[in-house]
């Protein structure tokens, strides 16, 4: 990193949150992981919980998330982060625990673990980044790939008759009584980024208040594997993803609603 001296007549208004390290990320240009990492870090700072937070990283593009968050971190096997978070939180109830998972990790190989953790009302928070593709392995079809979407393993477009339909995880997790707060947001524009941050804060507060399981699904882009420029990817996502994955809350428990209305 480079250190820039701030001129005397100017004020520093934007800096690294304490909960982020200053490491350069490995993410592709235009990737939204960096934005989402920052939102989580800002929330941890604002809630004053950095020094008691433990993150669980997934297998996928954010496998190295522990290099970017300045909190304790464990690296899980593919899809198993919710099981690890469960085991960890149960023996360390005073810690703040979150998983950070992509759509292959959470909605394919780790479906059982996320459903049962949510259903038990485990007191951790899941940040679920949905970009409708397997990024790290080179752009294969994900459980969330849209009908007709071309990927390296659906070269003629996802045929729902053969490959099934994209899975709407927030709706599925939202109906479980152990869930306290489940929402789907998008980081395609500034308004969406601000809303996503508010949702992440609500999710961590739901954990801190002991309300139950909380999850924020964040619609995201993958310009590299979608074969688009970052700007085109944001526009494509706004145009196509939001139709299939509608934004908004799928679960707000009474406890959570009470503190949201404070």
């Amino acid at each position: 990193m480079t250190t820039v001296k701030i001129p005397e007549d100017m004020e520093l208004v934007y800096d690294y949150p304490d909960s982020l390290t200053e490491a350069d990320t490995h993410y592709c240009p235009g990737c939204t992981h960096g934005t989402i990492h920052r939102l989580v870090a800002e929330v941890l700072d604002e809630l004053g919980v950095r020094t008691r937070t433990i993150g669980i990283a997934p297998v996928g593009c954010s496998v190295l998330a522990y290099n970017y968050f300045d909190t304790d971190f464990a690296e899980a096997a593919h899809g198993r982060a919710p099981a690890m978070a469960t085991g960890l939180k149960r023996v360390s109830p005073d810690n703040v625990v979150f998983t950070y998972q992509g759509d292959g990790d959470l909605a394919a190989i780790g479906t059982a673990e996320i459903v049962h953790a949510a259903n038990r009302g485990e007191l951790f928070t899941t940040i679920f980044v949905n970009n409708a593709i397997y990024g790290m392995t080179g752009g294969q079809m994900a459980p969330t790939t849209l009908p007709g979407q071309v990927t390296t393993s659906s070269p003629t477009g996802r045929d729902v008759k053969a490959a099934g339909y994209p899975i709407r995880m927030s709706e599925l997790i939202g109906i479980l009584p152990g869930s306290a707060y489940v929402t789907r947001q998008a980081v395609f524009d500034v308004r969406g980024i601000r809303r996503t941050k508010r949702a992440i804060k609500t999710a961590f507060r739901a954990q801190l208040e002991g309300c139950g399981f909380s999850m924020v699904e964040v619609l995201s882009t993958c310009s590299t594997n979608w074969g688009m420029s970052p700007q085109e990817a944001l526009e494509w996502a706004e145009e196509h993803m939001v139709d299939y994955f509608p934004l908004g809350d799928t679960r707000v428990s009474d406890d959570v609603r009470a503190f949201m209305e404070e």
């Binding site: 304790d72 971190f73 464990a74 690296e75 099981a83 085991g87 023996v91 810690n95 059982a112």
Partner: protein, 359 residues
């Protein structure tokens, strides 16, 4: 503490509680579910953690998470369940967090049956998961030893930051015997958890526990460290028991339930004038290879007896390196070989050895 009549599964569960177990995550499977049932009652009474997971896959990853937090944690299962846990075991081994695991073996392959078996020897000592690693493997032969091994298992797991597997078979798990439980140890309070654990980066740099090392040189370095640790374990933790080996001309090698049955074989054979001794490996990994090699110089032949198609016999032969003939007798499918059927095998070996010497 006086002896009580205890069932193996409940006994090892209670022994773990007394060894300071903080959390158990498991999934029901015969023939060890009594352990999970006992802990479902016992741990909440003591304000400790019990959780029935949605699968063995989830259970081992819950164990992994709790171990990362520095808690004393375990799971138990039986053969098909252990297969499901193998992914997690590999990650745990590379991450070097202490975990205790119990396998009350049943007949396989596949769903097999729920009868006692030793068919998971290879899985236990040679292929606990992908990658280069070993677990410490303790093989009790009766309920008392099963109890004692639980306490030892936690101590070894934490000393070496490794997985310790206690591998019993369904008959030890289901059998009731008079045995003595250990005294109750204090549970370590969370604030005394070890410095590498994930407890929150308060007043220190953030801790990371991972099994991902993208650079080949870095990963080789990690592997070299793991191998050094395994060599240290192999140098210090080999355990075995011997019965009447001092003057033995023949040697039986058997572990667990069959190891116990072979004590009867030794007695019966000696009544018939066959000078046989028994070596019972207590640790299956590390294996008592050196002692077996020494005995191979003393005896004329070795008979290995197992409840499988012949797995440990490969390690016996590797230890013996041709010094003497090594024969095998085993039963599969959940059948426990009786002393009366092992003795004729020993007599055959005795006759062969004699013929060989005369020729």
């Amino acid at each position: 503490m006086a002896k009580e009549l205890l069932e193996g599964n409940e006994a090892f569960a209670e022994a773990a509680v007394r060894a300071g177990l903080e959390a158990f995550y498991g999934y029901p499977i015969t023939p060890q579910s009594e352990a999970l049932e006992h802990l479902s009652k016992r741990l909440p009474e003591l304000d400790r953690v019990f959780l029935q997971a949605e699968s063995e896959v989830a259970a081992i990853n819950m164990v992994y998470g709790a171990a990362c937090a520095g808690a004393r944690v375990m799971t138990s299962s039986s053969s098909p369940g252990i297969s499901l846990m193998q992914e997690g075991l590999s990650y745990i081994a590379c991450s070097e967090v202490p975990v205790v695991l119990v396998n009350v073996m049943r007949g396989g392959p596949g769903l097999g049956n729920i009868q006692p078996s030793q068919a998971d020897y290879f899985q236990s000592v040679k292929m606990a998961g992908h990658g280069d690693f070993h677990m410490i493997v303790l093989a009790p032969a009766d309920v008392q030893e099963l109890i004692d091994h639980m306490v030892l298992a936690f101590d070894l797991a934490e000393k070496y930051r490794t997985i310790t597997l206690v591998v019993a078979d369904g008959s030890i798990g289901q059998m009731m015997e008079p045995a003595e439980l250990p005294p109750m140890r204090q549970v370590r309070p969370p604030e005394e958890r070890t410095d590498w654990a994930l407890t929150g980066a308060k007043g220190r740099d953030a801790n990371t526990i991972t099994s991902l090392y993208l650079g080949a040189e870095k990963l080789e370095e990690v592997n070299l460290r793991l191998q050094r640790k395994l060599r240290e374990i192999a140098a210090h933790e080999v355990r075995w028991k011997e019965y009447e080996t001092e003057d033995a001309d023949l040697l039986l090698v058997a572990f667990g339930t069959v190891g116990r049955i072979c004590q009867t074989v030794v007695r019966d054979a000696r009544d018939k004038g066959i000078n046989v001794g028994l070596l019972r490996p207590v640790t299956l990994w590390p294996f008592p290879s050196e002692r077996i090699a020494e005995l191979a110089d003393q005896v004329q032949g070795i008979l290995t007896v197992e409840m499988n198609a012949g797995q440990m016999v490969e390690d016996v032969r590797l230890a013996v390196e041709g010094r003497c003939p090594v024969e095998f007798y085993g039963r599969m499918g959940g059948i426990v070989p009786l002393a009366d059927e092992i003795l004729p095998e020993l007599e055959t070996l005795a006759a062969e050895v004699k013929t060989g010497q005369e020729a």
